[in-house]
């Protein structure tokens, strides 16, 4: 639940992706821990964290019905 710097060496030309939406992470990223003690996720910003929760809830309600 915090911003982190994405420290990369100048000669490192690889890229990093948002764990939620797939978009590119540049310079910094937002991290959060999945509810119920899941994995740590790296994402674009708080919006993507909320999006993660929203998709998860959709998943669960689909499973129930």
């Amino acid at each position: 639940m915090a911003w982190h710097e994405l420290n990369k060496n100048w000669h490192d030309t690889t890229v990093d992706y948002c764990d939620v939406c797939g978009n590119l992470l540049i310079a910094r990223y937002w991290s959060f821990i999945e509810p119920d003690g899941g994995e740590t996720r790296r994402c674009c910003d708080e919006t993507c964290e909320r999006l993660f929760g929203r998709l998860r809830r959709l998943e669960e309600s689909a499973a129930e019905s």
Partner: protein, 601 residues
């Protein structure tokens, strides 16, 4: 539409309109400069490029309405370069270039350039452009390697790199780039066309800054973004909330015979919308994968075809929209996966999935059946015997579009996610050693429907050089363009070859023992060999038995539909001989249509 009042109050709406038009005009001026000076027909004839104006934070404010395929890259690529480099590291006169599909590019051939605009040393805005270079190295001439299994085979990859340093060319970079392109002189001309276009943009944005000041201009830009966002939200709010799903696939990836599925769901909630592709197949081994921006581009383009057609296209339109395309799926390629075909083949597939299959559930009157839906990339290169010079070309083909609620699909049109023009036969044969035998519409192929699918084209041409190396990257050879609401499917793509002196055409797949009929590289053809390219036709819209018999008759008279198909697909029986004038046999037609309906039921 739930919004009854204007989206926002308290700002100078007239001033905003005027400013936005001026920024659009700047983009148009940049585009003109590029079109008139470029070397590659794909961007001078084909207009395969975009021009951009961005605010000082690198957000897209306006773009010239030329190639929608570049929408995603336009929205993100420059923004990301600026963030990665850091705005403080730019200087007046700098130009950055990059073509990295993992960093906001669409595929390697499309190069983006971006230049900062300063006012008395203060960063005020950016101008940019994106253009498809015809040849950038890699395993196959024309840099469209359909059998590539990683990015390194697709050509030279350039991360954000300074091409001009305070107005001076960075010669080392130019030399590395040109040394890796097969037709460096062509690249030299095209890259200069891009630079010239930026210089035009810098001058004009400079004029805006002089009038409004750096802060004033950027505040107004912010309002333009807010306006586009409000526009999109009000359009989305008009859609019923819900989850809508659809799927389609890529036939194969050029490496193996398996198909790759795209599974899409659109979640509409109030004035926001999510495109979720997370259930799609994993990324392919071959080059049909999409970078994130291509999936985003396709999703937005699909939306813009049915909603908000007039919205100012800028960074504001993505605010109410989220695209979920997890890395490692075919919808978001992970380094070093190949992706040159994602832009041309995967993008139209998703786009029509969105607008034809999914949004048609909500807005049937605005949707259309599938178009041919492939760019039908055909690449070739060799030495021209007429002047001894090496040439390479990236060729694409028009096709039929799908029928729609109001009319038949158009024939011979470029794939819907692009808006490029063909290369005239007379320019084609003047530039490259081929002789055409035919370039015509492909009769009797449009998907039958109340509104018929448009026809594809057929191109037959003979090799005039000693050897020409050809490659292809296409789709729609195994699965037809789909019809909608009872319309029939359209016809498929074909790529065929006949050896010198023979009329026996066979597919490239059979003739050369290829894995994929539509994706191959570096086939060597010799003088006198002929190639036949058949592009797909569009799907039909609505039940063909509901088509006005008079329209079927007109189609038969013009040769678009055969007399046989008039009966078998439309249930229309014609009477008389072609030369004396045909008429519809009303009674026989009614009877035939009745029996066909019963047969179906």
């Amino acid at each position: 539409m739930t919004a009854t009042s204007p989206p926002f109050d308290g700002i100078d709406r007239v001033g905003l309109t005027l400013l936005y038009k001026r920024v659009r005009n700047i983009c148009d001026e940049m585009a003109f400069a590029m079109m008139r000076t470029a070397y590659s027909p794909i961007f001078s004839e084909g207009l395969d490029f975009s021009t951009l104006v961005l605010d000082r934070r690198g957000r897209l404010i306006a773009t010239a309405g030329i190639n929608p395929a570049m929408l995603g890259a336009s929205l993100y690529a420059a923004t990301w370069i600026i963030r990665e480099v850091g705005p403080e590291n730019f200087a007046d006169g700098d130009i950055f270039v990059h073509n990295d599909p993992y960093r906001g590019g669409s595929h390697l051939p499309e190069h983006m350039m971006v230049a900062p605009v300063y006012s008395d040393g203060e960063l005020a805005a950016f101008v940019g452009n994106i253009a498809h270079l015809a040849e950038i190295g890699g395993m196959a001439p024309g840099s469209f390697a359909a059998t590539a299994t990683d990015i390194f085979q697709e050509g030279l990859r350039i991360p954000p790199t300074k091409l001009f340093d305070r107005g001076e060319p960075v010669q080392d970079i130019w030399r590395i780039m040109l040394a890796n392109h097969r037709t460096p002189n062509n690249s030299w001309g095209d890259l200069h066309a891009m630079v010239g276009s930026l210089r035009v943009g810098e001058r004009r944005v400079g004029g805006l800054i002089a009038e409004r000041g750096v802060d004033g201009l950027n505040e107004a830009f912010e309002q333009i973004l807010d306006y586009a966002e409000a526009y999109m939200r009000s359009e989305i709010a008009g859609l019923p909330d819900g989850i809508y799903t659809g799927e389609d696939c890529m036939e194969d990836d050029g490496i193996s015979d398996r198909s790759y599925w795209i599974r899409s769901r659109i979640i509409v909630e109030g004035d926001e919308l999510i495109f979720d592709y997370s259930k799609s197949d994993e990324q392919a081994i071959g080059p049909i994968n999409a970078p994130y921006v291509v999936t985003l581009s396709a999703s937005l383009n699909g939306l813009l075809y049915v909603l908000a057609r007039d919205v100012p296209v800028n960074a504001g339109i993505v605010r109410p929209v989220k695209v979920v395309a997890p890395a490692g799926t075919i919808t978001c390629v992970r380094l070093p996966g190949p992706c040159v075909g994602g832009q041309t083949e995967f993008q139209p597939r998703i786009m029509e999935l969105v607008l034809g299959q999914i949004l048609s559930q909500i807005l049937p009157e605005r949707a259309a059946a599938a178009s041919g839906n492939t760019s039908l990339n055909f690449l070739f290169g060799g030495v021209d015997p007429r002047n001894g010079e090496y040439y390479a070309h990236y060729h694409f083909e028009g096709m039929g579009w799908g029928g729609r609620a109001t009319s038949d699909g158009n024939s011979a049109q470029i794939v819907p996610h692009a808006n490029c023009r063909n290369t005239p036969v007379e320019i084609f044969e003047t530039k490259w050693p081929w002789v055409h035998e035919e370039y015509s519409l492909n009769d009797d192929t449009g998907g039958a429907g109340r509104h018929r699918g448009g026809l594809g084209v057929r191109r037959v041409m003979e090799v005039e050089g000693d050897v020409i190396t050809v490659s292809a990257l296409s789709e729609r050879m195994k699965r037809s363009p789909w019809g909608l609401f009872g319309g029939h499917d359209g016809s498929r793509t074909a790529l065929e070859v006949a050896p010198e002196g023979s009329d026996a055409y066979e597919t490239f797949q059979d003739a050369f023992g290829l894995i994929s009929p539509s994706k191959f590289t570096n086939i060597r053809l010799r003088r006198g060999d002929r190639v036949r390219i058949t592009s797909p036709s569009g799907g039909g819209y609505g039940d063909p038995l509901e088509r006005d018999p008079a329209k079927v008759l007109a189609d038969v008279e013009l040769g678009f539909v055969s007399r046989v198909s008039a009966e078998s697909a439309y249930g229309v029986v014609l009477d008389g001989a072609p030369d004396d004038g045909l008429v519809v046999d009303e009674a026989a037609t009614a009877a035939l249509r009745r029996s066909m309906r019963d047969g179906v039921a």
